[in-house]
């Protein structure tokens, strides 16, 4: 491997690593911000203290997750320039403005109102505080809108022309760039994924406390138990209603991808050979790019065409219809796709199970349901990352699909520089964000308290009542 190839590979590792870590936090905070908005809204409407307890409990977790999302996000915005400078020069005139709009309409909105949301309830009053919470939630959504538009444009570029310097420039209407063909599907699929991810985390937290309370035979009227019941119930409603919608949204995105990026779908399906009489559905196997086939495959005849074309006999292309230097690494895409779909089906199962339990008025009693909910707590994150790996590895070897190759996008950097930064990111991210996740788990384990105190506002005494003291790690 030449030095330039090594540097390119390291830069790709670095981007993949930092974006995967980063996206864990927004996929949680997009959903959690909306959940907080709902909780505070219900509290204002009903006046029931359980909603305020839950709000104050989850807002602390939100603060930790959001801080990690912010700092890992700043890294992303600069990495376009540091590691992908050729891409930035060429694509900057088209996607740069969309990212600038994200900063102007979303990041400032979140950041501007976050302080009030976290610390300001006593200072501004309930209604204005609720408005601040709504603004933070709106900000997370607007942010998703813009960044997914950027990502989708890179997958399905439209509305552009090339100038004399070899840059992509807008050809006519910005709407053609922003609302590119894959954007609506990706936006819906990603935002629903965030809601589903959050509901599974909330559900797992509620289930944990239900199990513990049930074992300790806690009085069911106790406030903390009521809060655990409420969050479990809300989360299971969300999972039951949204998981089926997500499966439909995913199917639609798959069909959209087949239309615009057929080679990606063929990699997801493991279809190396064309199937003129209808493609099988390969359930499992070991795809090999080198051999151009899937080893040890288990398949259902014609089912692939049935799913993708809604006709068992419809012909389907194979990867061999495309030049070999345009194949994605099929094994990665094939398996990450199966992880995502498998977890999606498990989420659907959990939602249906909770509906059965609810129908029999056993939602708070079926301990195996609670255990399953705990196991499924991190499933949303895994599915989200697996989904992104599918779409991002699946569009290789392109950064701008069909137009600009990844190998022609990178910065002219020395290998030692990229190697050092990659090692530094790996160490710092695992240490810092690992500790942050551990703090979040500690907060979750403590659970919502009756009359949950607000996030301590100035000054927080080191030796006095602090949020940290509620973790039980200080006497």
């Amino acid at each position: 491997m030449t030095a330039a190839e090594t540097a390119l590979l390291l830069a790709r590792f670095q981007f993949g690593f930092t974006i995967s870590f980063h996206f864990i936090f927004p996929s949680f905070s997009i959903g959690l911000a909306s959940y907080l908005m709902v909780l505070e809204g219900l509290w204002l409407r009903t006046g029931k203290p359980v909603y305020l307890d839950l709000f104050r409990f989850w807002v602390k977790i939100f603060a930790v997750a959001f801080a990690m999302g912010v700092v890992s996000g700043i890294v992303m915005s600069y990495q376009f320039g540091t590691n992908w400078s050729v891409f930035s020069d060429k694509a900057g005139p088209v996607i740069g403005p969309l990212m600038a709009y994200e900063v102007l309409t979303a990041f400032f909105l979140e950041a501007g109102f976050l302080g009030v949301m976290l610390f300001g309830m006593k200072r501004v009053g309930k209604r204005l505080h609720f408005a601040a919470t709504c603004m933070v939630a709106l900000g997370t959504f607007i942010s998703a809108f813009w960044i997914l538009s950027v990502n989708s444009w890179m997958q399905t570029p439209t509305g552009f022309a090339m100038n004399a310097q070899g840059q992509f420039v807008v050809a006519g209407s910005w709407a053609a760039v922003i609302f590119n063909p894959s954007f609506p599907y990706r936006l819906v699929h990603t935002v629903i994924a965030a809601y589903l991810t959050t509901s599974l985390v909330v559900g797992a937290c509620g289930a944990w406390h239900l199990l513990r309370d049930n074992r300790a035979q806690v009085d069911a009227t106790q406030a903390s138990h009521q809060a655990a019941r409420k969050m479990f119930s809300m989360a299971m409603w969300m999972a039951a209603l949204v998981a089926p919608v997500q499966i439909l949204a995913g199917d639609q995105q798959g069909l959209n991808t087949l239309e615009h990026q057929p080679a990606k779908v063929l990699a997801m399906e493991g279809d190396f050979d064309p199937s003129p009489d209808g493609a099988p559905l390969i359930l499992f196997g070991l795809p090999s790019n080198a051999d151009g086939k899937v080893h040890y495959k288990i398949e259902i005849p014609k089912a692939g065409s049935l799913i993708l074309k809604h006709d068992p006999n419809a012909p389907l292309q194979g990867l061999k219809d495309f030049p070999r230097d345009q194949w994605a690494p099929v094994a990665v895409v094939f398996w990450s796709f199966r992880v995502m779909v498998g977890l999606g089906l498990a989420m659907l199962g959990l939602g249906l199970w909770s509906l059965v339990a609810r129908g029999r008025r056993k939602l708070y009693d079926w301990t195996w349901l609670h255990r399953a909910a705990i196991v499924m707590g991190p499933a949303g994150f895994v599915a989200v990352i697996a989904g992104w790996i599918t779409t991002e590895v699946g569009r290789q070897p392109w950064t701008i699909y069909g137009l600009l190759r990844t190998s022609q996008s990178a910065s002219p950097l020395a290998t030692p520089a990229v190697a050092t930064s990659l090692v530094a990111f790996v160490i710092v991210y695992f240490a810092v964000f690992g500790i942050g996740v551990w703090y979040i788990l500690k907060l979750m384990e403590k659970g919502p308290q009756p009359h949950e105190p607000e996030m301590a506002e100035a000054p927080i005494r080191s030796a006095g009542i602090t949020p940290a003291a509620q973790m039980g790690s200080e006497p």
């Binding site: 801080a67 912010v70 700092v71 890992s72 700043i74 915005s77 600069y78 320039g81 540091t82 400078s85 050729v86 930035s88 020069d89 694509a91 900057g92 005139p93 088209v94 740069g96 403005p97 990212m99 600038a100 709009y101 900063v103 102007l104 990041f107 400032f108 979140e110 950041a111 501007g112 976050l114 302080g115 976290l118 300001g120 200072r123 022309a161 420039v169 807008v170 910065s411 002219p412 020395a414 520089a417 530094a424 990111f425 710092v428 991210y429 810092v432 500790i435 942050g436 703090y439 301590a456 506002e457 100035a458 000054p459 927080i460 080191s462 030796a463 009542i465 949020p467 940290a468 790690s473």
Partner: protein
């Protein structure tokens, strides 16, 4: 699809504005991070932290606007400068990771609070130093080949860039101490006054050293820009005003003014920015790429200008509102619980 010079200059001004907003707003909270070890463990540190906790995130957003805006409005400059400054930029980003999470983590884990306080300082110091080094590396010139950076990965490192790095640390510390004078009272405030005097002297020396050293950068035309007639008539106003404001600043410190030292420091920052403008205009990569040559097509710049014209006034309004909500001394609500 054609570049419009007027638009390009408007955008150069907007980027400069975003960078200025970032430097002064994150400057005071980075400065507090730099000074953190000087504060007593316990109440004084908690007060210093609480003076910035509700606003740091918004302050840092200006950095994203500066970077994102540069990519959108001047993609060529972004593509040349980021690889040229690779190590300091990465160091800055990692520094910002540590200090950003320290705001939350120090409250979550009292047993390891000393560690997170250290991380807060180390992260703030690294970020400030790296930003100053980037400034110096920019002024000393960047090797450009075609449409890309053409130098080595350690070209940014020089005595001059280390000097600008140290100067930025001192200048942020000055801004941080002035913010604390404004936001605290009693013992913490008295301490902040003392720190402001030290940081003020250090920053003044650093600004003088950087100004003089800039004139002697090899291969650059800074002497021509600053010292030849008639340029000097205009350019000399900057150091003259710096001198006046510095005297006023010292007077305000001695008279125990609370807001005035902070405002005068802002004025000094603005003058330093004007000085940078004199040194750089009309280049965006000094000596190599002009503002108009790096600019995006007019279509991109117009599209963003519409959003900027609508959003920036709104952003400034609700940012001001947020500062207003958390107005007053952080010590005043003692015993709030």
């Amino acid at each position: 699809m054609i570049v419009d010079p007027t638009l390009a200059y408007i955008w150069a001004f907007i980027i400069a504005f975003a960078v200025f907003m970032y430097v002064v707003m994150d400057g005071f909270d980075l400065g507090i991070g730099i000074l953190f070890p000087a504060f007593g463990v316990g109440e004084e540190r908690d007060q210093a932290m609480n003076a910035i906790a509700p606003v740091w995130d918004g302050n840092e957003t200006w950095l994203v606007l500066g970077g994102g805006g540069l990519m959108a409005a001047f993609p060529l400059a972004f593509a040349i400068l980021m690889p040229a400054m690779y190590p300091p930029i990465i160091a800055m980003l990692l520094g910002l990771v540590f200090r950003g999470v320290a705001f939350e983590f120090r409250w979550r884990d009292p047993r390891h609070r000393a560690f997170w306080d250290f991380a807060f300082t180390a992260g703030s110091l690294t970020a400030a130093l790296a930003q100053g080094i980037v400034l110096g590396a920019l002024l000393q010139g960047v090797h450009v080949t075609g449409r890309a950076y053409g130098g080595g990965w350690l070209d940014w490192l020089s005595p001059f860039s280390l000097l600008t790095g140290a100067g930025t640390v001192a200048a942020y510390a000055l801004l941080g101490s002035c913010w604390l004078i404004f936001k605290t009272e009693g013992g913490a405030q008295a301490h902040a006054y003392r720190l402001a005097r030290i940081a003020g002297v250090a920053a003044a020396l650093a600004v003088m050293a950087v100004s003089v050293a800039t004139l002697f950068i090899a291969g650059a035309d800074y002497q021509h820009r600053w010292l030849t007639f008639p340029n000097v008539l205009f350019a000399a106003q900057v150091p003259l005003l710096v001198g006046i404001l510095s005297v006023a600043f010292w007077w305000a410190l001695l008279r125990k003014k609370e807001l005035m030292p902070f405002l005068l420091t802002l004025g000094l920052y603005l003058l330093c920015f004007a000085g940078l403008g004199i040194s750089m205009f009309p280049y965006i990569v000094p000596g190599a790429v002009k503002i108009v040559d790096a600019a995006s097509p007019a279509a991109s710049q117009v599209f963003m200008l519409i959003g900027t014209a609508i959003m920036v006034p709104l952003i400034l309004s609700y940012t001001a509102w947020s500062y207003w909500v958390f107005r007053g001394k952080v010590g005043e609500s003692a015993g709030y619980h």
